[in-house]
Amino acid sequence: MKEPFFVLIKKELPNYPLATMDAILLSRIQFAFTVAFHYIYPPLSIGLGVVLVIMEGLYLRTGDRIYEQMTRFWIRIFALIFGIGVATGIVMEFEFGTNWAVYSRYVGDIFGSALAAEGIFAFALESGFLGILLFGWNRVSPKVHFFSTIMVALGSMFSAIWIVVANSWQQTPAGFKIEGSGLNARAVVTDFWEMVFNPSSMERLAHVLVGSLLAGSFLVLSVNAYYLLKKRHETIAKAGFKIALVVATVAGLMQLFTGHRSADGVAKNQPAKLAAFEGHYDSLAVADMYLLGWVDARKETISGISIPKGLTYLIHGDFTTPVKGLKSFAPNDRPSAVNFVFQTYHIMVSIGMALIGLTLLASFLWWRGKLFDHRWLLQVFAWSVLLPQIANQMGWYAAEVGRQPWVVYGLLRTSDALSQALRAEQVLFSLILFTVVYALLFVLFLYLLNKKIKHGPVDDAHHVEEVPLFSKRDNPIL
């Protein structure tokens, strides 16, 4: 933009680009790896939170023990997911500073307040009330417990709000001015609400939240389908399956809408990214929409199955207006991994469609009273938990790689955002550490999840914490 940021850095630090090239690549790999791993968990807690509110709400309305049992069961699963989300989330918070110090200084004024708001409002709300959810069954009234469940669900959504706002600001910066230059350049908030409601934040937030609903509800569908296949806890499993199916069906259809809105936003705000999504190179040509394809980034061509003029129609609503192609952008201003962006984007869309088909089919069978008659369908649902996870991951890969070469779109290049003194071997060291520890963490997660699922939603009353009440004299803390 105004300040040729990278030119100044190069003047100030002559050896910078060559000396740190590998550190950049390794840092990107490390960040991608740690954030992708982290992102397995938050969508699950957000989606599960909503399902929990419905389950416990039904329990309060009907007084049926079935709903209480399933609520207790899913709260235990929620706690496990939340715990790992916390552990891997702290890493993200540190990595901005350790690996991307220039970026952190640049966006601190903006990103920082969102992150602080996330920590103190969302995170505190969530972890605070989670204690009551887990251990408070005998200590608070059912209504207070239900209130706590709502707070936990809200808390997990609030964190999505602040994190997506911060990330959206990187995609479509707004409400700021640049102060200083070179290494001292930083974006300073001029209008807090304009920053929060930047052009892409709300549509991306909706897309992320609905994606999370899919992740959470399909976990519930999957576990209950597994129980039904094994003929265990059938009454609870059927009731739980139906609750999750409602959420999943509604979410699937909503995702059609939020997805379309997001894509429209990308077309408007980040045309180079949209062109990469669709593998569209030709400048100012009417664009086909590829359902399947392969991009040759070197030859700048795409081949595959397409709907003629489909993309033009989807974006402009007619068959004549051209769509800006990748060739309209200077090679160093547009993403280079076009095939990767194309494929991840298309996998996401395809899975989204498949999920809609699957939930509509199941809803239809439910209507006909045959929902649980087909073993194959239950088997599909038992494995279906992976689909929203993959779609969520692919969507973010497309969004973040498609934003390249910028870390803050149009303002700060990823290659200029790295901590200056960082050396490749340092990053390699930490990357290996994270790989080992995250592998261990993932094994732990699967092990504990499996154990909890095998144990099932029964015999819960015996497992409720029974802390003896002591007199004030024996109270060590207060």
Partner: protein, 344 residues
């Protein structure tokens, strides 16, 4: 410059960040200390009780670190970026140890084999000690300053962080946490484990008093800039005085077996030591050993006044909320630990 109650915005935020990190040191301090002492307990039941004493709270204690990190990033992005990139390896090891510790606590109780539990006991205790030492090492380097140049780039090496003074602060931090943790555990236990812990409390307190005295003397002799502020404003000597009085009170309460009051005192010690460092550093946060012009202060390292005001509003609403729920959780899990089938 804009002020609230006569104090400018960056200084307010400095107080908030300092307060949150003090909260972290106090809260995670005792569970890290409990972890550091873990291998002193030989019997399986003792170890389980010790683990369950921190079981419901350790995760919540770590929330304060998340908030502290966010608060630093938000209000002092320049400091956050500079410090975090400078201490790269240390922080990476720190993070990995945090995760390893969580894994150990969760894994341990899931299988009954002796070797299995011993393995996770060792990794739990090792990670706790490593975290405490890493925190102390960073603190020691912050007190002394590091080689930061005009581009906020660290020009030293990893080995420079392991200087004698910082190592001393690291061991002192560990000693403080061990004492704090021992006092916490003694409140939560009964019978033979309680008896054993009364001895551990005494020993760790002696250990801490020795390290505290040694660190104080070394600081007075070799880190003059930490003393300057106190000479400038003599009533600030109240802070070290408070730390000394609170430490003395710990020994008094321990001999009287009033462990609740000993815990209050060790909390005070931790808080006053953090304040001691904050007063000594202010207005600097990260000193440069290369040139005084490169010091990062609360002023040149801060976000814009507009953001600071937003942040202060967020903190004014958020911090009391977090404090309330923390108190509530501790209240819920008050009393001696009794193992049941939901325990670790």
């Amino acid at each position: 410059m804009e002020t609230i109650l006569g104090i400018d915005l960056p200084t307010w935020w400095f107080l908030v960040v300092g307060g949150v990190f003090s909260g972290y040191a106090i809260l995670d301090g005792f569970d890290l200390g409990a972890g550091a002492l873990h291998l002193f307990f030989k019997k399986e039941e003792s170890r389980r009780i010790a683990l369950n004493a921190i079981g419901p709270v350790w995760d919540g204690n770590e929330v304060w670190l998340v908030i502290g990190g966010g608060a630093l990033f938000a209000g002092f992005p320049v400091v956050y970026a500079t410090v975090f990139s400078a201490f790269y390896e240390l922080f990476m090891v720190f993070l990995v140890m945090l995760i390893l510790r969580a894994i150990s606590i969760e894994f341990r109780s899931k299988e009954p084999m002796k070797w299995w539990r011993q393995l996770w006991d060792i990794s739990y205790s090792f990670a706790s000690i490593a975290i405490a030492l890493a925190l102390g090492l960073v603190l020691g380097n912050v007190i002394q300053g590091i080689a930061v140049d005009q581009n906020y780039t660290y020009r030293g090496t990893l080995l420079d962080f392991f200087n004698p003074y910082s190592l001393l602060v690291a061991v002192t931090t560990l000693a403080l946490f061990m004492m704090h943790g021992a006092i916490y555990l003694v409140m939560k236990t009964e019978n033979r484990l309680y008896a054993k812990l009364t001895i551990l409390v005494k020993n760790t307190t002696i250990f801490f008093v020795l390290m505290f005295a040694l660190t104080s003397v070394v600081t007075l002799l070799f880190v003059p800039h930490m003393v300057a502020r106190y000479k400038e404003i003599p009533y600030m000597f109240g802070v070290p005085l408070l730390a000394i009085v609170a430490t003395a009170n710990i020994t008094r309460q321990i001999s009287a077996r009033r462990y609740r009051w000993a815990f209050v005192s060790s909390t005070l010690v931790t808080a006053s030591l953090m304040l001691l460092v904050a007063v000594g550093l202010y207005p600097n946060i990260m000193l440069s050993t290369l040139d005084a012009r490169f010091h990062l202060t609360v002023f040149n390292g801060a976000s814009s006044p507009k953001t600071l005001k937003t942040l202060l509003l967020i903190a004014a609403i958020g911090v009391p909320l977090v404090a309330t729920y923390t108190a509530f959780v501790f209240w819920t899990f008050r009393g001696k630990v009794h193992l049941d089938d939901s325990s670790y």
